[in-house]
């Protein structure tokens, strides 16, 4: 039993590890081709990661990445490709900022209200795509992309000075939020302030794991994602699951902008960070849709983002980090497929060996049985993650 687990773990880690190595090698080739040292940039970035203030920046950025990637991962589990996280989190952040500026309750009520508003806005926006899919069969890929554009237009309208906007200099903002709605930061002195939302992100990761793995709902979700017809046969209402998954994904997406909004800017303006929702797709893919994998992937992404800023001052281009991120995503897709196939072949070989040795499956005790169940489980996982 234990031996088998090790193998699965190895297979699980091999995918991202190979992808990372390949990405580093290819980036080095790019560096060599442009006549620069193929090693020094990594040394600089690792050195940067040793500084406490950079670590704080990394964790702060990872919080948003993590939440957004969880939102994407919820969809993945259900075979839904929610590309609309981008629009959902920005719209939710804008609405939350407006509510936070207009409503002033005591902190104990204000914060839950704001979080709720963000989640509901995200869920609402994703729910449109969910409804369209369930009732009219519109692909969520198409509808969420379109909803992203519509969200941008809606935000543009709501932030007009004659609606909810407040012009500050040349910037369009939603006005400063009441400070009862500012999420507390952890003051680390010279290292800066750690967003309190980092801990919310960790809690969300745990909640994600519990819901998916320990509840009836989570089982139904994964089952529907693995095989819709099989799930329907066992009494799961697939349409309802699609809508629920979309709403859930949108609600989580709605929270992705909150670390920046509630911990830092306290207003939604033209300088609010964008493209988090697209980055999150790569992170969810790299993390294989699991809460721990996504955590590592978010940290890696944030590390590449924040530690690379120094490169500009040492004669390298920060774009090296962007190249690496792109290569990682490509390498991940390829290596997961390769590792998956290799693992499958190994399992087949082992089963073949055991059969040849005269064992009868099911009577060999724990290793054989768990192997069998594991195989089908593995396949499901892989399929869900790959789609």
């Amino acid at each position: 039993m234990k031996k088998f687990d090790k193998e699965r773990l190895l297979l699980g880690a091999a995918g991202p590890a190979i992808a990372l190595v390949v990405a580093v090698l290819l980036t080095s080739v790019v560096l060599l081709a442009s006549g620069k040292s193929p090693f020094e940039p990594y040394a600089i970035m690792l050195e940067q990661a040793g500084f406490a203030d950079i670590q704080v920046l990394i964790l702060n950025a990872a919080a948003g990445y993590y939440i957004a990637a969880l939102a994407v991962a919820v969809g993945f589990r259900m075979n839904l490709f929610n590309i609309g996280v981008e629009g959902q989190y920005r719209l939710a952040a804008m609405v939350t900022a407006v509510v936070g500026a207009k409503v002033a309750l005591p902190g104990a009520l204000q914060l839950p209200l704001l979080v709720l508003v963000a989640a509901l806005t995200g869920a609402f926006w994703a729910g449109i795509a969910g409804l369209l899919k369930v009732t009219r069969g519109v692909s969520e890929v198409v509808s969420t992309i379109m909803l992203n554009s519509i969200a941008t237009a809606v935000i543009g309208y709501f932030t007009l000075p004659k609606v909810f906007g407040v012009q500050q200099g040349n910037n369009k903002t939603t006005g400063e939020m009441h400070d009862s709605g500012w999420f507390p930061n952890l003051d680390l002195g010279p290292a800066g302030e750690l967003y309190g939302f980092v801990f919310v992100a960790v809690a969300l990761g745990i909640a994600y794991w519990v819901v998916l793995n320990r509840t009836r709902f989570g089982f139904d979700l994964r089952a529907t994602g693995a095989s819709e017809s099989a799930a329907a046969a066992s009494g799961v209402n697939a349409k309802r699951m699609v809508l629920t998954a979309m709403l859930l994904s949108g609600a989580v997406a709605g929270l992705a902008g909150l670390p920046t909004l509630l911990n830092d800017t306290h207003t939604y303006s033209l300088s609010f960070p964008t493209s988090l929702g697209f980055t999150a797709i790569g992170i969810a893919l790299l993390g294989r849709g699991g809460p721990v994998g996504i955590a590592f992937a978010s940290l890696l992404w944030a590390f590449l983002d924040k530690a690379s800023a120094e490169l500009d001052y040492r004669g390298y281009d920060t774009e090296i980090a962007v190249i690496m991120q792109g290569l990682i995503v490509i390498a991940v897709v390829v290596s997961y497929e390769a590792v998956g196939r290799w693992g499958l072949r190994r399992q087949q070989q082992r089963v073949g060996k055991e059969l040849a040795a005269g064992h009868v499956l099911g009577k060999t005790g724990a290793p054989g049985t768990s192997g069998e169940t594991g195989t089908s489980g593995d396949n499901n996982d892989k399929e869900v993650a790959a789609r």
């Binding site: 406490a52 203030d53 040349n170 980055t279 594991g374």
Partner: protein, 357 residues
């Protein structure tokens, strides 16, 4: 079914352990080391000026390049290297703060944020480095002793562009192409439209903004500019003014192909290499001397008397204006006289130019 619980249980324990490990790692990282990258006192400010670009960065033939020209001039005159740093796509305020602080820490002085998007970051960095002079272009909301906001009366230059457009138009229809639908670009539109109307109230102004946000490429997509200009030409426009950064190149290209007038922005686009193919059709450019402003700040720091507080560059100081480098500018009947008259009226305060349409 009987086997299911066992496997599920193993997975649960394994994943729980992972989650615990991740949380522990997180706690370790945070409490780990106390050393910071920008914590030290930093070097003495003798590395010269550093500028932090806005979206689009170097090579936009417009706003950012104008600022870069200021840095080049400072390099030549003061003999230092200086620095120019690009932003990342979709970055947050925290990244901008990090960038400005890093530049100040390394000893650059002054540190200039190109674009109002740096407003909050400038405020924060200026507090952390009170001995460094900070500049911020296009924003006057930051008030601190060591901050010099560099702002322009874009609407005045645009007004003159509007006068020129009205005089040059035969079809009685002119166009305005804005890069992104934001207050800053509204100033260009407002000035231009007022200049046109004051010259000839019968002329129609077609306005088009390329995108709602900068991230969608309003300032960096020549193809979008081209499509917008083509549509305006189809509607009868024969002079098109663009305030759209790099996208403006597409506007100029489309206008030149149809042998219509284009009006450049920020720099004298008649003289730009990237546009030399179409320069005969660039009637004039509404300039905004970002380079001059940035250089003035560098010069003040070099002389030991750094500028502080709002620095306004208007038509009066030559901070904005229109160029006459295209010989055709003087050949259009009544154009130069009308522009000169308007210029005088604005400087004398006889004409108030609106900043919002």
């Amino acid at each position: 079914m009987g086997r299911m619980p066992r496997t599920t249980r193993t997975r649960i324990t394994r994943r729980c352990a992972h989650a615990a490990a991740a949380v522990a790692a997180l706690a370790l990282v945070v409490t780990g080391c106390g050393e910071t990258s920008s914590g030290g006192s930093g070097e003495k400010g003798d590395k010269g000026m550093a500028i932090a670009f806005d979206i689009g960065g170097k090579g936009d033939q417009s706003f950012n390049d104008a600022a870069y020209a200021g840095l080049e001039r400072a390099r030549k005159e003061f003999g230092y290297q200086g620095n120019a740093v690009e932003p990342k796509d979709g970055e947050s305020d925290a990244d901008k703060v990090q960038r400005l602080k890093q530049l100040a820490k390394q000893g650059y002085d002054p540190v200039v944020g190109i674009g109002f998007i740096y407003a909050n970051a400038t405020k924060e960095a200026a507090e952390a480095y009170p001995d460094t002079t900070f500049g911020i272009v296009d924003d006057s909301t930051v008030k601190a002793k060591n901050v010099a906001p560099l702002v322009f009366n874009e609407e005045q230059g645009s007004y003159l562009a509007g006068v020129a457009a009205a005089k040059a138009s035969k079809s009685k229809t002119v166009g305005f192409v804005g890069g992104v639908d934001v207050p800053l670009i509204h100033k260009f539109e407002a000035g231009f439209a007022q200049g046109v109307k004051d010259t000839d109230p019968k002329i129609k102004v077609i306005t088009q903004y390329l995108t709602e946000t900068a991230e969608e490429g309003g300032f960096s997509s020549p193809d979008k500019g081209k499509a917008a200009a083509e549509a305006q030409i189809e509607k009868g426009a024969d002079v098109i003014y663009q305030a759209a950064g790099l996208s403006g190149q597409g506007v100029v290209e489309a206008a030149a192909k149809e042998k219509k007038w284009a009006i450049g922005v920020d720099s004298d686009q008649y003289k730009q290499k990237a546009l030399s193919k179409y320069k005969d059709y660039i009637l004039t450019s509404a300039t905004k001397d970002v380079g001059g402003a940035v250089f003035a700040l560098a010069e003040s720091v070099e002389r030991g008397k750094p500028l502080s507080g709002e620095q306004r560059f208007s038509l009066k100081e030559g901070g904005v204006g229109v160029t006459e480098s295209n010989p055709e500018f003087g050949k259009v009947p009544g154009l130069k006289a009308a522009v000169d008259r308007a210029k005088k009226d604005i400087v004398d305060g006889k004409i108030e130019v609106a900043t919002a349409p």
